[in-house]
Point group: C2
Chain length 269, copies 2
């Protein structure tokens, strides 16, 4: 399995704090030694840093932790390989252009029977279940919407249906962004938190590090962080439900297709 980290914000925000927590899971506090990657959007463009080596020993990961790249939409992933070998082409996130925008995708989970998915014109370059699922999803969206739809809720409805289909193949926790939207789909573990004024302090679970967001923000900032496990131990993270699709724009929820309770949940979540 792997770890996911996403961010949606209304002002360009750096993700150094959360990324520092995630990176520790890349071989130090976690077993995810098979690569990591992070994509930052800047306008319609993006930059991706990735490495098939463990994140806790990566010089490029050090740069990303130290260098405050500010972005309104971020997708990140650290990997423990289950499908597909350890190589750069199998390292998330994956990016493809659709409707004149770059779409970026990362997946946590494991699928079976994915080889039969018809990806149409979107061909996978590597051999992971994740990249094939991504290509299939984009192909489905393009088949239904040859142009980017004006009614985005219609797009999200179809996206949710497609994610439901992928969930029938196994565990499918997903982050997907076009640089403006950050869409998240949960099978079994995906948590989010929205930070806004009045900002407090937060302490990382994976590293002895505390941040006072009040020092780092202005009163109008809205920043949502999404992760496969809560990254801080003194804040209330919302656990997404089974089959829930939640889409953020500028840090705010703009679409939510509710899911079902987790089998392991006690009572109503």
């Amino acid at each position: 399995m792997c770890e996911l980290l996403g961010m949606s914000a209304n002002v360009p925000t750096d993700i150094c704090f959360s990324f520092t927590g995630l990176m520790q899971r890349g071989g130090n506090t976690g077993p995810h030694r098979d690569g990591w990657g992070i994509t930052f959007y800047e306008g319609k463009g993006f930059r991706t840093f990735k490495d098939p080596n463990p994140s806790c020993h990566s010089r490029i990961a050090e740069l990303v932790q130290e260098y405050p790249i500010k972005s309104c939409a971020v997708i990140s992933h650290i990997r423990q390989a289950n499908r597909g070998g350890v190589s750069l082409e199998n390292t998330h996130p994956f990016t493809r252009e659709l409707w004149g925008q770059y779409w970026t995708f990362a997946h946590n989970g494991q699928l079976t029977g994915y080889e039969k998915l018809d990806t149409g014109r979107f061909k996978a370059v590597g051999d992971t279940d994740s990249e094939i699922a991504f290509c299939w999803l984009l192909n489905q969206l393009e088949a239904r919407f040859p142009e980017r739809p004006e009614n985005m809720d219609a797009l999200f409805d179809v996206m949710a249906e497609c994610c439901d289909q992928l969930r029938t193949l196994g565990v499918y926790n997903m982050l997907l962004s076009d640089g403006n939207l950050v869409a998240n789909y949960c099978t079994n573990k995906l948590y989010w938190i929205t930070r806004r004024a009045p900002f407090g302090k937060a302490s990382l679970i994976d590293e002895d590090m505390t941040i006072d967001f009040q020092q780092e923000t202005t009163p109008n900032d809205v920043v949502t962080v999404i992760a496969t496990q809560p990254l801080t131990n003194n804040e209330d993270w919302t656990r997404m439900l089974v089959g829930e699709l939640c889409v953020f724009e500028q840090g705010e929820v703009i679409y939510r297709r509710h899911g079902e309770p987790h089998p392991d949940a006690k009572g109503t979540p």
Copy 2:
């Protein structure tokens, strides 16, 4: 105008030396202050570093200069904006997937009438003439070859014809790679050099720096460097002709469609 730098090698080779020379043209010895980018292939995967800021002041450019990323195929570009604003989405190189491979492209020159090019399913994200030309080129290749052809010479013939068409729109010097091949098309300035045993020393034109390749290589290494201007002042660079397409694989020429002499050339080149 811009500067291009490409490399094709038969063993993973770092490009720090040549990149150091190129970076100086990004605001120090050259006027190309509007961004830079570099793509390194590793197997079927790639990494791209890019920045809309001048290369000579970029922290990411420093990392690339100091960190010997080894690759058999590299495409790099520094930019002086003429078409399209200064932004990340307008910063070369550009990458798209075709036939299950990532194709990466950089362009030197300036085109007119490019808005009318039909790019089909490959939509430009930014608004440069270069990205539109790239999308059009891929669309043409896919229209002629729905699958990657086994006869690569047939592909290169079509590629050369397409580049000829783009040259009718203006100056079109191009680097294009799928990670295995590095294809180069010249309108007015593109030079290359193949280094192989016995290796000698080389001195950069743009910075007081000499390298002894014998210390850095094994006797079987073959490394070709392609650039819009020779980067060293003590080696013989081959100037490509007008309309010439030259394709390298593992450092060796595997296809050459000869061009015409340059109008500014004295006698036969």
